[in-house]
């Protein structure tokens, strides 16, 4: 397996795996504590519309998907701020409609026959240098936002009503969290595919939440646990010639099962 590391595409896959894992650890934590898991799933599926649009217009896939995902996030932000109790309906809507638009756009693109499965289940072995730059810059932006506005984001996530009373612009930070989530979902699609994104954003976070005393700690642990799962999943996928995205998710699920078992045994002792 060591000789595999000399291949450029494997190196790209490993770097992408680490970058995406760290980003999804941080953003996944925010998504879980803000109870936006379903929302993240909706944005992930809606971004398929962006993939279809990029294919149709001949744009870079990342650009199309990012544009669509951010638009979906902003739409949800505007719709849910007024009618919070109907959030689930709106999410269900963008979830299905976004995908449908993507399928239709691919249909009407003349002579296009690239395997769309790679967007559904990930294609980490096909990461380009440009993809890596995009992922690196996004991770940098996420880390910078967390450093500068950690206390505001913490306040908005923990108790948004009180944060508003203390003069924090709740709407701004809520929208910021949504946009960063949308962009993280887009880079995670490259690694595990849009169908499996939710698992990548939530399984490591679930484990980290149990061992953390603060949100920052939870973000760090989630990132590290996600990295461990991603690299293990990649190794398994390479060794047994399996789909990488699915391998990463199954390894994560096994890791979660193991963690819960240990947790239970500890409690009994």
């Amino acid at each position: 397996m060591i000789e595999a590391l000399s291949y450029g595409f494997i190196q790209h896959a490993l770097i992408a795996g680490v970058l995406v894992s760290l980003a999804s650890g941080i953003i996944g934590s925010l998504i879980v504590v803000n109870r936006m898991v379903f929302l993240a799933g909706g944005i992930a599926h809606a971004s398929y519309g962006g993939i279809g649009m990029a294919v149709f217009l001949g744009l870079p896939i990342f650009l199309g998907a990012s544009f669509f995902a951010v638009a979906a996030a902003l739409l949800v932000s505007v719709l849910t701020l007024k009618k919070r109790e109907r959030t689930d309906t709106f999410i269900g809507l963008i979830w299905a409609v976004g995908m449908a638009i993507g399928v239709l756009l691919v249909d009407i693109t003349p002579g296009y026959n690239v395997d769309m499965m790679s967007y559904l289940f990930g294609s980490i072995l096909a990461v380009s240098s440009e993809d890596l730059y995009f992922m690196g810059v996004l991770l940098g932006v996420i880390v910078a936002v967390m450093l500068f506005w950690y206390r505001d984001i913490l306040a908005v996530s923990y108790d948004s009503e009180y944060a508003a009373l203390r003069g924090v612009n709740v709407r701004l930070f809520y929208t910021l969290i949504l946009i960063l989530s949308a962009l993280t979902v887009v880079i995670a699609i490259k690694v595990v595919g849009l169908i499996l994104v939710i698992a990548m954003l939530t399984i490591p976070v679930y484990i980290a939440e149990k061992c953390s005393h603060s949100l920052a700690q939870m973000m760090l642990y989630s990132g590290l646990i996600a990295t461990l799962f991603t690299l293990t999943g990649l190794a398994v996928s390479y060794t047994y010639n399996l789909t990488s995205g699915a391998s990463i998710i199954v390894i994560s699920a096994l890791g979660l099962g193991l963690f819960m078992l240990i947790d239970k045994v500890k409690r009994m002792v």
């Binding site: 500068f148 950690y150 206390r151 203390r166 003069g167 949100l215």
Partner: protein, 261 residues
């Protein structure tokens, strides 16, 4: 001028008038209890004082300014602090949410802010729990932390919405003893259903049910109330007693509602 001056305030959600021509002056040394039936407009009144809502008619002044321009002078303890207990956040971080974000460092929290938060925790007797996860505390302890959060910005007024709703009886006494101690330096306004306890600790009571009526609670009445506490009057009976007192009060001219103590 009082600490809070409410003059002829009316408020309606859509077309339903919730508060009708409310006037009230809260003095510096007051411990005011706001009571009244559910749906009577208590929470709406709180939101108006906090500047979350704006009155349709009339004015509200907090230390002479509009409520929303005086955020740091009011400490607020919201209702039901038992939500979101899984959230990974330390007690000290919750308390530091109370700082108003004007003078703050580039990253994280300033040393003075941490010291100030520890001071607020010490005031409520919770400094030993600063690094505990908020979810590991009992309901009463968590309520103390929320009071510390409200005290963090050194407010001159503390407003609490049903502070003892989800706490056991012993914990409720502790919270009110704490509020009584705090009331020496801070004006306190409490919304509560817990009439017996409120009347024992408060020196003023405002009954809100669309309109407002105002009572001083002289010491004589307090001892009477603590006497009947032993016999365990139910709250409905106490409410009825207050209601009958109210109808006597409202028949008197308006300017005599408030008799200076």
């Amino acid at each position: 001028m009082g600490v809070i001056d409410v003059a002829h305030v009316s408020f309606a959600y859509e077309k339903d008038l919730v508060l009708d021509n409310i006037s009230l002056t809260v003095e510096k040394e007051d411990f005011l209890a706001i009571i009244g039936p559910n749906g009577g407009g208590k929470s709406t009144f709180l939101k108006l004082m906090l500047g979350i809502l704006k009155p349709n008619k009339g004015t509200i002044r907090v230390l002479g300014k509009e409520p929303s321009k005086n955020l740091s002078s009011i400490g607020y303890v919201p209702q039901n602090t038992n939500v979101n207990t899984d959230f990974p956040i330390k007690v000290i971080e919750v308390v530091m949410m109370g700082h108003v974000g004007s003078k703050r460092p580039l990253f994280g929290y300033a040393k003075e802010e941490i010291a100030c938060a520890m001071g607020a925790l010490a005031q409520v007797g919770m400094e030993a729990y600063a690094d505990h996860k908020i979810g590991s505390l009992s309901g009463g302890q968590r309520q103390r932390v929320m009071i510390a959060r409200a005290l963090c910005a050194h407010p001159s007024i503390l407003i609490l919405d049903e502070p003892t709703a989800s706490i056991d009886v012993a914990g409720q006494r502790d919270i009110y003893e704490l509020l009584k101690a705090l009331s020496r330096s801070v004006t306190i306004i409490v919304v509560s259903h817990d009439i017996a306890v409120i009347l024992e600790y408060a020196n003023k009571a405002a009954h809100i049910n669309k309109t407002l009526s105002y009572h001083d609670i002289p010491n004589k009445e307090k001892s009477f109330l603590s006497h009947i506490r032993g016999q365990h009057f139910c709250e409905v009976e106490l409410l009825q007693m207050l209601g009958s007192k109210r109808s006597r009060d409202t028949s008197e001219p308006k300017n005599q509602w408030r008799t200076t103590p």
